[in-house]
């Protein structure tokens, strides 16, 4: 069989090889790069979609969390306010009670003092009368004579006046 030379360029082979190269480029593009790149693109899109969804979910979760936190802090504030109010009420009430009690006590004390004063006056008057009559009796017995009642009365009053002043 005939052979071509070892180192030579055959024009038709040269042209055919250029065409072969371009046919090969087309074939490799059509059967390898196009389908594989499509799949890679699809996978990329799927991954991107997943990431987007995850981001969205995260944002929603953040929103819920913020809402929860704000409502929690609201509730805490409310609770604090209620406790504060209750404390204030309680303090007010306690002060009122104490004041009332003090008033009551002082009124009782005043009444007691008044009573004591009246009792004392009454006792004093009684003593005064007693002493007067006793003095009349003693004087009558001592003098044994008829003394004009009016003179005696004046005399006794004077005496009693002296006694009162002395007491």
């Amino acid at each position: 069989m005939e052979s071509q030379q070892l180192v030579t360029i055959i024009p038709w082979t040269f042209i055919a090889q250029i065409l072969n190269l371009f046919i090969q480029v087309y074939l490799i593009k059509r059967f390898l790069f196009k389908p594989i790149n499509e799949v890679l693109k699809k996978r990329q899109e799927a991954a991107d979609k997943d990431i987007q969804e995850a981001k969205k979910a995260k944002e929603a979760a953040e929103a819920v969390k913020t809402e929860y936190e704000s409502s929690m802090s609201d509730a805490r504030g409310e609770a604090n306010r209620i406790i504060e109010d209750a404390k204030k009420d309680a303090n007010l009430r306690a002060e009122e009670l104490i004041k009332e009690a003090e008033q009551h006590a002082s009124s009782i004390k005043a009444k007691a003092e008044e009573d004591i004063r009246l009792e004392r006056k009454k006792a004093l008057n009684e003593v005064k009368d007693e002493i007067g009559s006793i003095a009349m009796d003693i004087a009558g017995k001592v003098v044994e004579k008829e003394i004009h009642e009016d003179e005696h009365k004046a005399l006794i009053d004077e005496f009693l006046q002296n006694v009162e002043e002395a007491s």
Partner: protein, 253 residues
């Protein structure tokens, strides 16, 4: 025994009558090239069957690996996605080159052991380089580039430009041809040595043994490993890398 190395066998001669181009030769080179193309295309079709987005098969993983490495190679060497259109071309060049080189393992003659093949590829690459240069700087910019840095350099610049495809073609062709020549030489010399040494044995035994190239077992396989596997892959890679580099450089202006 005579040892001679000839070019690709010619199966059929079709006269075309066109001057300069001569006869169309249906040579071993072309037939094996078509086989190579069939192998690559068949492999592509096989690898991309039943493509799925999730839960991919091993075949698809390999196909994706090939595509991604081609993308990465081109993108990392050109800096960006500007040359994405070139990726299938680069991949086809590399694939054809490496399969053509490795097909010599099956006993077929590599299409790359014919200078026509490499010359065709190198010229194609050269045309793309020039097209990119013109695209980057315009026709005037392209022509002006030859006078840089000083006008005296013009002849040398033209020479170095023309040398690009020639060196690319000859480098690849030379490596593959040297492999063919050296492998053939070693094989032939060992056969001769075998028959000479074993022919010393007297009688029928010597005559019989001297016809079997016993010495040719072993060493050609080791040498073949270098030339068929290492050099093949290396040359395909070098040719592809040079293509990418030249085109990226050309586009930078």
């Amino acid at each position: 025994m005579n040892f001679d190395i000839s070019g690709a066998k010619i199966f059929l001669k079709i006269p075309t009558g066109i001057p300069f181009l001569g006869d169309f030769l249906l040579s071993e080179t072309l037939v094996v090239s078509w086989i190579v193309m069939a192998i690559i295309t068949g492999l592509c079709i096989f690898l991309t069957r039943n493509l799925r987005v999730e839960n991919i098969s091993k075949r698809q993983a390999i196909a994706e690996l090939i595509v991604e490495s081609a993308n990465n190679l081109v993108r990392s060497n050109t800096g960006g996605t500007k040359f994405d259109k070139m990726i299938p071309f680069v991949a086809a060049l590399f694939g054809t080159s490496i399969v053509s080189n490795l097909i010599s393992l099956t006993g077929l003659r590599s299409p790359t052991a014919d200078l026509s093949t490499e010359a065709a590829w190198a010229l194609t690459v050269y045309v793309i380089i020039i097209a990119n240069k013109i695209k980057a700087g315009g026709v005037i910019g392209f022509l002006k580039g030859f006078t840089q840095p000083i006008p005296v350099m013009t002849p040398f610049n033209i020479l170095s430009d023309v040398a690009t495809p020639i060196s690319m073609a000859c480098r690849h062709f030379g490596n593959i041809l040297s492999g063919v020549v050296i492998s053939g030489l070693i094989y032939a010399s060992l056969t001769i040595a075998s028959s000479a040494v074993l022919g010393l044995i007297p009688g029928v035994v010597g005559d019989f043994l001297s016809n079997i190239p016993i010495f040719a077992v072993g060493l050609p396989a080791i040498v073949g490993f270098y030339f068929d596997w290492f050099s093949s892959a290396m040359q395909a890679f070098i040719f592809t890398m040079l293509t990418i580099m030249y085109i990226a450089n050309a586009a930078e202006g």
